[in-house]
Structure formats: C-alpha cells, structure tokens
C-alpha cells in the first residue's frame, strides 16, 4: 500500500466519528430513496404484470338494464379488443360468526369459461359450477376477515331476496386490488368485500334474465379511449348508462396511482434533506482535516505532487464515506422496502407483491451519495489544492476577528467575555454556523412534518365523523322508496332517530366542462349527516340551488352564482339547470349537496328517499343487527361507528411506526450535525479552551464556550425549524391532497414542542459527548505547540 493511502486510512480512522455521522446521514437519505423508488417500481411492475395477465379493464360502464343482444354491437365499437358483460350489485351478508351484517359487492362470472376481461386469480378452492347457482367465490381480504373459506355457507340478501350461498373458492382480481366500500376512507375487510357468482344466479336475483347491467372493456392497441367511451355511451344511452369511464375512475386503480404518486414525493423529499446535510458534514470535517494538515499539504506539494493529486488525496476520503453511506443505505433500503411491501400486502391484494429494487435504483442512489459527498468535498478540497506550498509551511496567522455590527456589539457588552467569544465565532464563520443551524432546523422540520400527519389525520377524522357523519349506521334501500319506509326503519330496535337522505348519480356540466358525481340530498336541519363548510364546521344548506364541494367546483370552474346543468344518469334522465349557491369543504370525496326536498323535486320524485342515517341506542345494537339481517329491503348497511374505530386504530398502528422512523432520522440528522459542529468547534478552540483552563477557569466554565456555541445555534435553529416545518408540512399536505381527500393543515402545538425538545435533546447529547474532551484536555501539550 502506498504510504499516502496509509495516511488516508489513518486520517479516516482519526475522524471516524465524523465519518460515522456522514455515513449514517447518507444512509438515512439513501435508504428512503431506495425504499420509495424501489417500492414504486415494484408496485408499478407488479400492477402492470397483473393487469396484463388478468386482462384488467381499460373502460367500464354501468347501465340499468341492457339486453344481451346488443353485445355484438358493443364488441364492434371502435377500439374494443375484448369485452365482458356482467351483472353487478350489492348484497347484505349474514355471517353467523359476525354480529353486524357485512356488505358485499356482487359480480357475475361468465356463463362459460373465464372472464375475458377482469379475470380472477384463484387463491384457493375452485371455480363455481354453473350448474350450482349457490356457489360463489369470495375476495381474499374479505374471506380472511370474515373467517370463511371454501365449504362455508353464508346468507345474502340480494335485491330484497334472501339466498343461501356456498363459498367454493377464494380469489383476487385486478379490478379489486384495493377494496374499500363506497364513501369509506380505508378498507374495512370485515365490513365490505367482493363475491363472484354465476351469471344465472345473479340474473335471477336482480331480474336481469337475458340482460346485464355492467360492461367491462379492454382496449385494442393504439385505441383512442375517448372514441371508445363516446361510442359505448352512444350505444348504451337508451339502457340507462351512467357513462363509460376509464381507469382513473376505477377505485382500486385510482388508489394505487395515488400511492405511487406519494412514493414519488417521498423519494425526493426526504433524501434531498439528508443529502444536503451529508454534503455539509463532509465539508466541515474535510475542511478541518485540511486545516490541521496545512504543513502536510505543503510537503506533498514540495515533493512535487500537483494540485490535482493533492485534491484527489483528500477527495478520496469523502468518496470512501460516500461508499459507506451507499452500502448501508442500500442494505437498509432493501430491508425497509421489504417491510413496506409486507405492510402493503394488508391493503393491496396482488397474487404476489415483492420488493425488488431495480439496478438502476441502486445506481441512482449511489450516484446521489457520491454527488453529495463530492459536492461537500469539492469546496474544501479546492482550498487545499490552491494553498501555495510556501504558505502552508508557515504557521497560520491567528484567525482574524473583527468587531461585530454595531447593535450586536453593543448587546454583547452586556455579556461576559465567554459569551462574546461565542457570538464572535458565530459571526466569524457565518456559513458554517448557518449550515449547522440549518441542519438542526431541518431535523426539527422533519419531526414537525412527521407529527403533522397524525394531527391532520386526527382533525380530518374528527371533522368527518364528529361534524359530518354522526350517524352510527347508514341503511340504503335497494331502490329509492317512499318516505313511509322511513317509519319502518324508525321502528327497528334501538333506532333513536332516522334521518332520510337521497343520493343521485348525475353529470354536471358547466361551459365545456363536465364531471360525473353524486348529489346528496340532505334534509333541512339535518342532525346526523351534515355538510361541512370552511374550518371544518357543519353548515346549513341553502333552500335552493346546489352546494358544490370545493374540488368539484374547481373541476367545473364554477363559483357561487353560476348556473350549471345537472343530468340524471339513470331513471328519467332529468336534465335541468341549477344555480350554484354554496361551496362545501368535505374531508372526503367531492360530491354536491342539495336540500333534500329540493333534490326530490328536481328529480321529479317527491317523497322518495335512498335510505336513512340512524342514531342508535348502543345497548341495542345486537337486536338491531339481527333485525337488519332478517329484513331483505336493504341493499347495504354501513356501520359508521365501527368504521371510525377501525380507521383510527388502523391509523394509530401505522403512525406509531412512522413517527419512530422519522424520529430516528431526525435524531441522526440533529445528532450528526451537532456532533460534527461541536467536534470542529472543539478542534478549533482546543487552544482557547486550554488557555481558559490555564487561566483558572473550571472545566464547566470552559465547556460553556463549547456547549454555548452549539446551544446558541440550536436555539437559533428552533424558530427556523418551526417555520420550515410548517412550510414543508403545508406543502406536503398540498401534494397529498387529491379529489378524494382534503388534507387541511392543522396547527398542533404539541408537535412543535416535541420536535424542538427532541431535537435539542439530541443536539445537547452530541455536544456533551464532545464536551468530555474538555476534561481530557492536555493543557500543557496544547499550549506548548505552536498550533
């Protein structure tokens, strides 16, 4: 080994704690990068393979009732490569082991053979036998949650008729990778799932003999989806079509796409933080090494090494650290990805989901690591390369200090000399002080961001449930029914109060924009299901006109006062102009709201409601559940209280883990920065500290100069971190915001207190580790040396 390389290793060993800080900070950033980019790739590839293999639909459309004979016409529509007609509906399930009835989405299987579009992946059991209409397949998560499997029976209330079903297999489908009940935030597999049954059985249950109510289509290569959609709409219009739509409106795919989007955000956001800090750490530690090696540099140059060789010698140590960070980051990233993949398997049902990061991901991670370390090294190495040999062989002059700007200087005169040392040093090295404070501030910001998610989620759930959805159960009728039916509902055991509602699928048009959405009819003085306005407070609906969710209004580019057109997608296809009279801010979804009677009048069906929200006596839940299971009039029952509980628990479980990870990251960042800064301060001030000790200052008094500098920077960093954290949290919420969710930023003082206290704790811990060196200070040795 060349002696220079031996020196390099000795240098690295000497600055091993610095090196460790660099490696850890790099590893944090790169592991998140590898995890999120790798996970994104894995999800995308797995989804693409699954879609291709099981022929995921590109376009789907629901109709009220279309006869089988138009299938040929549909198949001849432009761009259609394959299509499947089917019957789809909802059913209430009575599973003996579970008290509340569950709701199932029912989907028919072809009369013969496997579905040509949206084929299934059979996990266990076998396909239903067309000769046995009671046989059904069940979706995997549903089966697991209900504790049923092949051979088990359950009772289903389909379209008002109670039937006994027998499970013969467990399956998944590309259209149901992610399954959540309509209007729910999170999947609740024990409340909602999918059943596949024979076509004839469902035709009988839904009175659709020789007919279908859903079409799923796979497009040909190079097909123009818009043309196909238009053609399908034209053909199906007479049959009560609610409009064909693409994957962007298929729930499962939409969730996946959003998840991918969030992974992309994650892949940039955190790593950038950490790479910046790593670059800074490399810079200050290398600068320190170079400062103490002026003489060596002079010698190297005197021996004839050129500037490039000298620069390379010092850059090598940075690159070695980058290697270390990249190795650790890659290994941890793969482990991290594996655990995220298994977490995903609780929500996304693929035949198989594995975390596989592509080679390119690693190449990018390593490149980013080298880039950060290289950038950090470049600044300090350049200075080393430029030192003239003659200069390096002379002892350095005492660093030049100057008086501080007037007011600060005046302020400092009220302080003791040691505090003045601290202030002057901070002002003398503003870049380093700034970078140190920024690093600490970033750690604080990171924690604020991490903690703001639960705070936002909490407030989102509070608003959604405590303000907007206060019912414990929502019952939906199979078809809109007379108000009279409400009395039957009120008479169910345990019902304290029933509040009617009506939902209507409509197309909104404003100018050239058009959006398909739901109008919810809310009775005047609603107590349970209320419309949310600004600030998360329930608002009263105007007696006339329609109130649009903010996202919907934006999509339509409509403001209060505008007149928009509403067209019913089924039934009478009523088409009417309506005035926008308000804007709502629901946490979830982007529907429109109208006064219940106004909506019923608009749809020319006065007195017909879609269902009721119920306030319940909790003591009589069991009785109620039993009664609902026995009554065939309901198409669905949604247990809002249970949903809230499940959602919160679900969230708490994951948030705990996330906070732990982020806290560890923040600790690494704050600790690494503080440690390096304190080490450098210590090295620079060794002589001053020894002088103070010689003069008779105690260890504690001398340490104050060291700790004080870091503490002062940390205190400067605290407000900066709070501001940064707030900005980043707001920005991230903005990024995560979609048509489906509102992510309102909320101020949560406890998050800020925690972020600041935790980070300052890490900083002080790092500073006190370095402080111990003051105890070991060799006063005589330090002062004997020239420098």
């Amino acid at each position: 080994m060349r002696s220079l390389d031996r020196k390099l290793l000795r240098d690295l060993w000497r600055m091993r704690l610095h090196g460790l800080a660099v490696i850890l900070v790099l590893a944090c950033g790169l592991s998140v990068f590898v995890m999120s980019v790798g996970m994104r790739g894995s999800l995308e590839r797995t989804r693409a393979a699954y879609y291709a293999e099981r022929r995921m639909a590109d376009v789907a459309v629901s109709v009220v009732r279309a006869p089988d004979r138009i299938v040929r016409t549909l198949a001849n529509a432009p761009g259609v490569a394959a299509l499947e007609t089917r019957i789809s509906g909802f059913a209430l399930l009575d599973v003996t082991k579970i008290e509340e009835p569950a709701t199932a989405r029912l989907v028919s299987l072809p009369r013969a053979g496997r579905p040509r579009v949206n084929d299934l992946f059979l996990r266990s059991g076998r396909w239903p036998d067309p000769a046995h209409p009671e046989e059904a397949l069940i979706s995997e998560a549903f089966a697991t949650a209900l504790g049923v499997g092949p051979g088990d029976s359950l009772a289903a209330t389909m379209h008002g008729r109670r039937e006994a079903l027998r499970i013969v297999g467990v399956a998944n489908a590309p259209e149901f990778i992610f399954v959540s009940a309509p209007g729910e935030l999170f999947p609740q597999p024990e409340r909602f799932g999918v059943l596949w049954m024979g076509r004839e059985a469902l035709a009988r249950a839904y009175d659709l003999d020789g007919a279908f109510n859903e079409v799923v289509v796979r497009l040909a290569h190079n097909a123009d989806q818009r043309k196909t959609v238009a053609a399908l709409d034209k053909i199906l219009r007479p049959y009560g079509s609610s409009g064909a739509y693409g994957r962007d409106r298929m729930m499962s795919d939409r969730y996946l796409t959003e998840e991918l989007h969030q992974l992309s955000t994650m892949a940039i956001f955190l790593p950038v933080f950490f790479l910046l800090v790593a670059a800074f750490l490399v810079n200050i530690s290398l600068s320190r090494v170079i400062a103490t090696e002026r003489a060596n540099i002079g010698l190297l140059k005197a021996f004839g090494y050129d500037d490039g060789a000298v620069a390379w010698h010092y850059a090598k140590s940075a690159l070695l650290l980058a290697c270390g960070g990249a190795v650790v980051g890659s290994v941890v990233g793969v482990w991290f990805g594996g655990s995220v993949a298994s977490l995903y398997q609780q929500y996304y049902f693929f035949p198989k989901l594995e975390f596989v990061a592509s080679p390119l991901t690693f190449v990018a991670a390593w490149a980013a690591g080298f880039l950060a370390a290289g950038a950090g090294a470049a600044l300090s190495v350049r200075r080393a390369a430029r030192l003239a040999p003659a200069v390096t062989l002379q002892p350095p002059k005492p660093p030049a200090f100057a008086r501080m700007p007037g007011p600060i200087e005046a302020f400092s005169h009220g302080l003791d000399a040691k505090s003045r040392i601290i202030m002057r040093r901070i002002l003398r090295y503003p870049r380093r002080a700034g970078a140190t404070a920024l690093g600490i501030a970033l750690a604080i910001a990171l924690l604020i961001v991490a903690r703001s998610f639960p705070a936002v989620m909490d407030s989102l759930l509070d608003v959604h449930f405590a303000q907007g959805n206060r019912q414990s159960v929502t019952l939906s009728f199979v078809e809109p029914r007379e108000m009279r039916a409400l009395h039957d509902v009120e008479r169910l055991p345990g019902v304290i109060y029933a509040e009617p509602f009506r939902t209507e699928d409509v197309i909104f048009r404003h100018g050239r924009r058009q959006v398909q959405e739901v109008i919810v009819g809310v009775p005047e003085g609603a107590r349970l299901n209320r419309v949310i306005g600004r600030e998360g407070k329930a608002i009263a609906l105007p007696a006339v006109g329609v109130t649009l969710a903010r996202t919907l209004a934006a999509k339509l580019s409509a403001v209060p006062g505008d007149e928009i057109e509403v067209e019913q997608t089924r039934g009478r296809r009523v088409r009417m102009p309506v005035r926008v009279t308000g804007i709502a801010d629901p946490m979830l979804g982007g529907s429109a709201y109208m006064d219940l009677s106004a909506l019923m009048r608009l749809m020319r069906e006065p007195g017909r409601v879609s269902g009721a929200h119920l306030a319940m006596d909790p003591a009589r839940h069991s009785e109620f559940n039993a009664a609902v299971k026995a009554i065939p009039a309901f198409a669905g029952a949604s247990f809002v209280t249970l949903a809230e509980r499940a959602t919160r628990k679900n969230f708490d479980d994951h948030v705990g883990l996330m906070i732990a990870i982020y806290s560890a990251f923040a600790a690494v960042m704050a600790g690494g920065v503080a440690f390096s800064a304190a080490r450098v301060t210590m090295a620079e001030q060794e002589r001053d500290l020894a002088t103070l000790r010689v003069l008779g200052f105690t260890r504690r008094e001398a340490s104050y100069v060291l700790i004080g500098e870091i503490a002062a920077l940390a205190l400067l960093a605290a407000p900066l971190g709070c501001v940064l954290g707030t900005g980043l949290a707001m920005w991230l919420m903005q990024l995560f915001q979609t048509d489906m969710y509102a992510f309102p930023w909320v101020f949560d003082p406890s998050s800020y207190a925690f972020a600041v206290a935790f980070t300052l704790g890490c900083v002080l811990f790092a500073a006190f580790i370095v402080r111990r060196e003051v105890d070991r200070l060799d006063m005589v040795g330090v002062l004997k040396a020239r420098d």
Binding site: K397, P398, P399, A400, F401, A402, R403, D416, A417, K418, R420, I421, R424, R425, R428, R687, D688, A690, T691, L692, R693, V694, L695, G696, F697, T698, R699, E701, M779, V780, L783, K784, A785, R786, D787
Partner: protein
C-alpha cells in the same frame, strides 16, 4: 539565618516521570528548592532538562510523580483537580512562549477575561497601560504584532495581581528589541506587584535579570547562582 517570612514555594525531592516501563522519561529526578516571596528566579538549562516541567507543576498545570511541593504551606500534591484550578485562579499568572491569546477577543477583552474570576483584579485599562498598550486596547490579536500580543499576555497574567508569575520563555518567539520591551514590562510589573516570579529562558543574558539563577541539567538542579545585582532589561544585549 532566620527568614522573616515563610517561603512562597517549598520543593522537596520532587520527581516527574512521563510514561512507564521502557519508555519512561524521567523529566525531574529530585528537585529541592525554596523560593522566597517576591523573588525573581531564572531557570536556565539545556533543552529537555525539565525546566518547563517544573514550572508547570509549580503552576498547578501538571502533577508531580513523587516528592513534595507546597505553596505558602499548602501542598499542591494533595490538591485534586478542582483544588489546582482554584489555586491557579487565585495565585498564578502564566506567560508562555506562544502568547495564547483568545483570537476572538480584543486585547482589552482578553484581559477582562481574568477579571471575571479574580478576587481583586486591576482594570483592563490599568493592566494594558502597564505594558504600554493603552492605545491598542480594542485591537484583536490578529491586528497586533508578536511583541504586542505577548505584552497583552503579560497584562492578562498580571491583571489579577497574582502571587506568582510563571514565565516559560516569554521572549522565545521575539526579536531583541521587542523582547526587551516585554521583559521591561514583566520586570517592572513583578516589582510593583511584588509577585514571586519564575522565568525560564535559554538566554544566559536574560539570566542576569534574576535574584538567583537555577541551572538545570538532566532533571536535576546542577547549580544555583546568586546575582548580587539584578540587571535591568535595557542593559541586555543579545
């Protein structure tokens, strides 16, 4: 002869060993010495003979390996780290070859530093005036010449009116003219404050400034000369 007052320092059989085993260095091999209050003592000897080691032990910066050393009847050997710190704080002014000023503090502030921990200090202006730097008080070390920096160091050392002034080659890094100025300040001040002064030097000429000259050789005192007349710094010629 009965001494009118007890000695400032009483040193008996003092030894100092660095390291152990084969690599042990015997820096001091048994020093016996008494130093009177207010005396000006010069330590002379070849490099490595143990002068700095003795000075550091006397100043409470380092510990003896054996023997006894007492300052005004208080044994330094018995003091713990805290006791030594307090001893330095109350009694000792140090001046080193390299000035060891705090670069981020002005001349005045460097002096004021010790005022924070001394019992009856001079003002910074007084101390700097004594070394002839009253007009440079607000300059930072980087703005001062070596001799000026050393004079600031002298001012800082004497500002607390120390009982002992320990100077380890105070003019080692200076040229003749500047060295003389520093020595003038030192001698003048130690006379005024009646501080017991120990000065290490390599310069035989400088030795003429002392009441006594202690010659070191190989960790031992080889000889003690008594100067019948102390020279003044201006008489020195290197």
């Amino acid at each position: 002869m009965v001494s009118p007052s007890p000695p400032a320092y009483r040193v008996r059989g003092l030894t100092k060993v660095y390291g152990d085993g084969a690599t042990a260095v015997h820096a001091l091999r048994g020093i016996d010495l008494e130093i009177a209050e207010g005396e000006m003592l010069v330590l002379l000897g070849p490099s490595g003979s143990g002068k700095s080691t003795l000075l550091n032990i006397m100043g409470g910066l380092d510990r003896a390996s054996g023997g006894e050393i007492a300052f005004r009847d208080a044994s330094l050997v018995a003091m713990d780290d805290h006791g030594l710190t307090r001893f330095r704080r109350r009694n000792v002014g140090f001046i080193f070859q390299f000035y060891n000023l705090i670069p981020s503090l002005t001349a005045r502030e460097n002096v004021e530093l010790v005022r924070e921990i001394a019992l009856d200090p001079m003002t910074a202006a007084e101390a700097l005036d004594l070394v002839g730097l009253a007009d440079r008080m607000d300059h930072f070390p980087a703005q001062l010449s070596g001799g000026e920096q050393q004079r600031v160091a002298v001012a800082r050392a004497i500002a607390k009116r120390p009982a002992v002034l320990l100077c380890d080659e105070p003019t080692g890094a200076l040229d003749l003219k500047t060295g003389v100025r520093v020595l003038e300040a030192l001698v003048d001040i130690s006379a005024r404050t009646r501080a017991t002064t120990l000065m290490v030097t390599h310069n035989v000429d400088v030795a003429r400034l002392g009441d006594r000259v202690v010659h070191f050789l190989d960790g031992r005192i080889s000889r003690i000369d008594v100067n019948t007349r102390r020279a003044s710094p201006s008489e020195l010629a290197w």
